[in-house]
């Protein structure tokens, strides 16, 4: 596996800045949902690292559940109609305060679909917490209630975000230099 130092263009958000911002988000969420029946929903697999760090910064008791979605077809022509649910929630969210936790909002197409789908189950409230917001790429509007960082339209990796399924375990968000990155296969 290629060491990331060979293709890292820059560290966009370092570990300390990530953890500081996540602590702020956690405090804000703990305050806003005090006395409520909060459930955090994570879309696998990218959002897992963010979810784990965020939940540890939330001081009120809450539940955690997971969804996995995949797309029918491939490539950039994804739309809501092409999203398939490969893992559904174990929890009934009716009447609960649901917070969808996402690593990155890009086109917004998948999240818009997931929100629409979750809404049909009649949660008491439904909001979005996104670590990274790549607003320039937005195709479908998504309301983001808790935002970690706005980022430019660059190819990012680390902190749960993969490059061909690797490098999710880096503790920072980095930018790839595509000229220097060599995929394995």
């Amino acid at each position: 596996m290629q060491p990331y130092q060979e293709f890292l263009a820059e560290i966009l958000i370092d570990e300390a800045a990530l953890q500081r911002r996540i602590a702020e988000l956690g405090a804000e969420i703990s305050l806003d949902y005090r006395g409520r029946d909060l459930i955090l929903i994570c879309i696998l697999r990218g959002g897992m690292v963010f979810l784990v760090d965020l939940m540890r910064r939330i001081t009120i008791p809450h539940q955690v559940d997971f969804m996995a979605v995949s797309s029918y077809g491939s490539g950039a022509r994804q739309s809501a109609g092409h999203v398939r649910l490969s893992l559904d929630l174990q929890t009934d969210i009716r009447g609960k305060d649901v917070l969808l936790v996402e690593d990155i909002v890009d086109s917004g197409n998948t999240i818009a679909y997931v929100l629409e789908f979750l809404q049909t189950r009649q949660p008491r409230s439904l909001k979005v917490c996104a670590l990274l917001d790549k607003e320039e790429r937005r195709e479908t509007p998504v309301p983001i209630h808790y935002r970690g960082f706005r980022i430019p339209n660059k190819f990012v990796f680390g902190y749960g975000l993969d490059l061909d399924e690797y490098y999710r375990n880096l503790p920072f968000v980095g930018v790839v230099d595509p000229d220097k990155y060599k995929p394995e296969n």
Binding site: R45, I58, V64, F66, S86, N169
Partner: protein, 185 residues
């Protein structure tokens, strides 16, 4: 929702001790798989925190995947240990070096079934890294290759491990005083 202070029995492993041990395991796994292409499989949902922290302590670059399992039946039938796969791996593990990450092993029945199932897919190697080992409860001979901590036969929570789907967010591992704990409605 009950505050955990109301029902905590004792802290079995505190946050600093967990962090230190996770770093040791990360170093050991990095050495053992130094020149290998490692696939880490996180068993949802209990192992999420352990996996997110452990992978960040690796100096090698692993691929990450998740599985979600549940036991068939309830109560007395659950002891068959047969598992149902709610979410299967996205990765083909044939010829791969696989490390399964689990939060806790007690009877060992579920783990034995998962290992048996994964072995049929012919990985190059298959090992287990478990945060907590409740050896007293073992019913089938299954042994983890990497163990975080040996724990007594107590009902534990925190660091990803839930009680009735809550309290996963606490940064330590504690035991419950069942006489004081009230399940949510």
């Amino acid at each position: 929702m009950q505050d955990y202070h109301e029902f905590i029995d004792e802290i079995l492993v505190d946050e600093q001790t967990i962090a230190r041990r996770v770093a040791e395991l990360g170093a050991q796994i990095s050495r053992d798989y130094a020149d290998k292409d490692l696939l880490i499989v996180c068993l949802l949902r209990g192992a999420i925190t352990f996996t997110a922290d452990l992978t960040r302590r690796l100096t090698i670059v692993p691929e990450l995947d998740c599985m979600s399992l549940s036991s068939y039946g309830v109560g007395h039938y659950a002891s068959s240990g047969n598992v149902r796969v709610n979410l299967d791996l996205r990765t083909n593990i044939e010829g791969r070096h696989v490390l399964l990450v689990e939060d806790i092993v007690d009877s060992g029945r579920t783990l034995a079934h998962v290992l048996e199932m994964l072995r049929t897919r012919n990985p190059a190697s298959l090992r287990v890294c478990v945060l907590l080992d409740k050896k007293e409860r073992r019913e089938v001979p299954v042994q983890a290759d990497y163990v975080g901590f040996d724990v007594p036969d107590k009902y534990v929570f925190g660091y990803g491990i839930d009680i009735d789907e809550r309290y996963r967010h606490l940064p330590f591992i504690a035991s419950v005083d069942l006489s004081k704990y009230r399940p949510p409605a």
